[in-house]
């Protein structure tokens, strides 16, 4: 297959000037890409990650590139960790405008539901629905001060289901149930709630393609734009858009950022 034409990254500079964002799971993959883009857009970013060895270098790199960033150790399944991330955002940067919940337990290898153990079920629910609840509650008192935004990272699997990862499809769908109800609940307060369903190169995608050598070609072949998204160049700018006034009349929506692979709407 010949190289797919790829346009240059969209300019985001200034779109989030003076704003402050927390991004969970920002130590790598899509979370790191969103943190990069938001920093490039002028936001001060909290890199909330479970492991310092992944989160701290991301914060340091953003600072070295001229951005404002701080790392906070955060296991999103622990309420106190999420609350602390919000506290650090206020202490370091004085406000909180955007909460991005991206962290997720890796979905693992494809297997039918009847072969998935209890521990995996609890972990997936904990990092997705419980953690979304924690992030939403911790952030809302600040988000409502100045037209803030909650962004959840879901998946095309949460829209169309997944035969390979049935549990993952269900939990990503559950997050979409939460976001639509919260959009109705928080709309009158001026707080918007949206989701991104990306397909992008992440450490999890690296593992999946290594385990299944034909996966990448199949995925490209079923994607109109014929490439897999880059976390910083393709996914991050959409998060910036959802956090910025450009999307001020959008709430309760899920944007599939997947090169056009899902066209069901």
């Amino acid at each position: 297959m010949s190289a797919t034409p790829t346009p240059p990254s969209p300019p985001v500079a200034g779109l989030l000037e003076g704003r402050v964002a927390i991004i969970t799971g920002a130590g790598q993959g899509v979370g790191e890409g969103i943190a990069d883009s938001m920093a490039q857009a002028g936001a001060s970013v909290i890199i909330a990650a479970r492991r310092a060895e992944t989160g701290e270098p991301v914060a340091e790199r953003i600072r070295n590139e001229g951005g404002n960033a701080a790392f906070v150790k955060c296991d999103v399944t622990v309420r106190a960790d999420v609350d602390n991330a919000v506290d650090v955002a206020i202490e370091r940067f004085g406000r909180l405008d955007v909460m991005v919940h991206n962290a997720v337990s890796p979905p693992g290898v494809p297997r039918p539901l009847q072969e998935i153990d209890d521990q995996t079920i609890l972990l997936q629910i904990g990092t997705s629905t419980t953690a979304s609840f924690y992030c939403a509650q911790a952030a809302f008192p600040h988000l409502k001060n100045d037209y803030g935004s909650l962004i959840l990272l879901t998946s095309p699997a949460g829209i169309e289901g997944s035969g390979n990862l049935p549990l993952y499809g269900a939990i990503k769908g559950a997050q979409r149930g939460l976001l639509k109800s919260l959009a109705r609940e928080w709309g009158p307060e001026g707080v918007r709630v949206n989701a991104i369903a990306p397909v992008a190169w992440t450490p999890a995608m690296d593992v999946a393609t290594a385990a299944n050598p034909t996966l990448e070609a199949r995925l490209r072949g079923r994607t109109p734009l014929q490439r897999i998204g880059d976390p910083t160049a393709d996914i991050g700018p959409v998060a910036v858009f959802l956090a910025s006034p450009l999307s001020r009349h959008m709430t309760g929506q899920t944007l599939a950022v997947d090169g056009g692979r899902y066209l069901g709407l």
Binding site: P112, F140, G173, K180
Partner: protein, 233 residues
């Protein structure tokens, strides 16, 4: 295993359904299916912690199921509550535990359904896919169930198990005053039929139809059976 039409038409005139959930819509669907000749089994303790042995413990002699209907939403999850007012325990009881139980139910039902080329149907409130102010936990668990149906359809089709979700008007799950507000928030018009469907005489037959050989090619459907109140794009 390919479904045997003769088995359906002759030897299995009395097919067996397991209805999971208390109150409506479970009660009315159970009633409608019983009227249609089904042997209806119930597990209606919504506070039960579901595990892989729950079905076997309730029905030790059961060797197969033609239909499982999930409509399990604990009373707490059917109560309105602003998200900011919920405690961690509230969230656990209203969202995470019901969702977990849904997943465990499906997992434990697999061997019963696989042996009979059966069907599993998840009944979900409109708030799952359209949102509902004050019902974020219920919507979370229910939308998870709706997407579980799609995922199972993709996986279990190989086992000739069919999985579907049916979205119902909020009045199927909520007290009348709560349901009225929800319908109003989700639609600018009244139901074109002038009413929402009756659960036992109009929804149960659709559940029944989904189990028949006329519908073997329908997999992972998300049907909205609300009299036209909400017509998703």
């Amino acid at each position: 295993m390919v479904p045997d039409p003769q088995r359906r038409l002759a030897g299995m005139a009395r097919r067996t359904a397991l209805i999971v959930g208390a109150d409506d819509p479970a009660d009315s669907i159970a009633s409608g299916l019983a009227d249609a000749g089904w042997v209806v089994l119930r597990i209606d303790d919504d506070d039960l912690m579901w595990d892989d042995h729950t079905i076997a413990a309730a029905f030790p002699d059961l060797d197969g199921l033609d239909l499982v209907v999930h409509a399990r939403y604990p009373a707490a999850s059917r109560r309105r509550g602003a998200l900011m007012d919920l405690t961690d325990d509230d969230w656990r009881i209203r969202a995470d535990e019901p969702f977990e139980a849904t997943i465990r139910l499906a997992r434990s039902a697999h061997p019963y359904l696989a042996g009979s080329a059966g069907t599993i149907v998840f009944l979900v409130p409109l708030m799952a896919s359209a949102g509902g102010e004050g019902f974020a936990p219920m919507a979370t668990a229910a939308e998870g169930a709706r997407l579980l149906a799609k995922s199972l359809a993709k996986t279990w089709g190989h086992d000739h198990i069919r999985a579907h979700a049916i979205t119902l008007d909020p009045s199927a799950f909520l007290a009348p005053d709560e349901a009225a507000g929800m319908a109003e928030a989700n639609s600018l018009h009244d139901p074109p039929l002038g009413r929402v469907p009756d659960l036992s005489t109009e929804v149960a037959p659709i559940v029944n139809a989904l189990t028949t050989d006329d519908f073997t090619s329908l997999l992972g459907a998300s049907l909205v059976v609300d009299g036209g109140l909400w017509m998703p794009g």
